[in-house]
Amino acid sequence: MSGLLFDEPGPRARRRIRLATVAGVLVLLALVALAVRQFAANGQLAAERWQPYATWPMWRYLLGGLWSTALAAVVSAALSMAGGLVLALGRLSRRRAIRLPAAAYVEAVRTIPALLLVYLVLFALPRYGLDLPLFWKLVVPLSVSNAALFAEVFRAGILSIERGQGEAALALGLTHGQSMRLVVLPQAARRVLPSIVSQSVGLLKDTSLGFVVSYAELLYSGKVLANYNGLLIQTYIVVALVYLVVNASLSALARSLDRSVAGGGGPRRRKITRVPR
């Protein structure tokens, strides 16, 4: 794709590119070296500040947090996918009475910060006698907000199926519901699979709001650790690396799914729609 914007560079352009590359890399390395030196000068690289993260108990604790993160992400993903499917179908319904509330939900929830929803569940519900367990205090607001995002992914997937498919199903005598269920949705599901995985990366990132709820997910576990050993920066660097490894693997999975779905048929090349966060 990118090849169309420029010609294959000639010998002089290649030399310029090489020079610029070397110069750029050198400048970058110099900046990094400077930063590391300053970091070390502030004592942040001292061995004893990193040593705890070379020990098993710390990692066991963080991996426990990661497990909780995964659990919250999986449960929220399941709930918000179910909700999202209902909302997407509702939004595509032919009845206004169904279409409008579904659209209103999606548009409204999309514009409210998840953090604010967390605060509502955290502070407001207990006053009305509804005090959810910690796990649900994180999962409920995440599901409420992500259902709207999944709804949009599903809707795009359903709309991407050629009209002829649904029309052919209707012509065969299937009802609207049957044509959705038997013809359109199975094809749409294939198409949105990569988007679902990358959407789930976003959801997994959202579980870091457990930090606010004090549900012992990865980021909150990092907080407890930092409280325990006082190594704030080191702890968050380690936590960030764990997130990076997990999410990058999931993103890679999304891409390979995308390739295999694309290879398996379907006339158009689809891209993974990533809902911005």
Binding site: L5, L115, L116, Y119, S208, I233, P276
Partner: protein
């Protein structure tokens, strides 16, 4: 309700900070996104690699983690700025990755003939990007950019965790004092929804404009 009205100055102050952060970080994110997308579709392999790593890294880290690391980590490497400034920069860098991806899919949607025609006319890479490809790409990405703007507005609320008193933090503080969570948080939620509605309205207008211009 009175909890809300008694503390209007605090809410207003918070809303102003939220709006400032949103505007500043969206401008920054747009700049970052343009640079990254130019690197990503450009001819220099190293720049392509750097841009890819950048996008992958930032899209795979929770913003909250980035914020905490930047606020407490950067001073340790000698870069210290105010809390709000730090938060704006971090959000701009983070959302810049999303803008770059949105622009890239816009660029990819432009038919290959456009770029080839621009080159055939003798335009350089920069010129064909600036005069031919990006203007067309922009009109297809207005909607995605609008969505990023809304997400960015929501994301400024995370700055509350690193000491910035924006709308969410202001609401939280008023709640601490008044213990009236429902009106306070619903009020704050409405303010966010209003900002997002404005954004939706504006993107709708722009989209129609650009659609006619083509």
């Amino acid at each position: 309700m009175s909890a809300l009205l008694d503390h209007l100055p605090e809410f207003w102050q918070g809303l102003v900070v939220t709006l400032q952060m949103t505007a500043a970080s969206f401008l920054g994110a747009a700049a970052v996104g343009l640079v990254i997308v130019a690197m990503r579709v450009g001819p220099v392999p190293v720049l392509r690699a750097v841009a890819t790593v950048y996008v992958e890294t930032l899209q795979n880290l929770p913003l909250l983690v980035l914020l905490v690391l930047a606020v407490f980590g950067l001073p340790e490497i000698g870069l210290k700025a105010g809390l709000t400034t730090t938060a704006i920069v971090v959000i701009a860098l983070y959302e810049g990755a999303y803008i770059a991806e949105a622009l890239r899919s816009g660029v990819n949607a432009i038919s290959a003939g456009q770029g080839e025609a621009a080159r055939a006319l003798g335009l350089t890479f920069g010129q064909s990007l600036r005069h031919v490809v990006l203007p067309q790409a922009l009109s297809t990405v207005v909607q995605p950019l609008g969505n990023i703007f809304i997400a960015l507005t929501m994301n400024t609320s995370l700055a509350a965790a690193v000491g910035v008193v924006e709308l969410t933090a202001a609401a939280n503080r008023v709640n601490l004092l008044e213990a009236q969570p429902i009106p306070i948080f619903v009020g704050a939620g409405l303010a966010y929804a209003a900002v997002a509605a404005c954004a939706g309205f504006v993107t709708g207008r722009i989209e129609r404009r650009l659609a006619v211009a083509r």
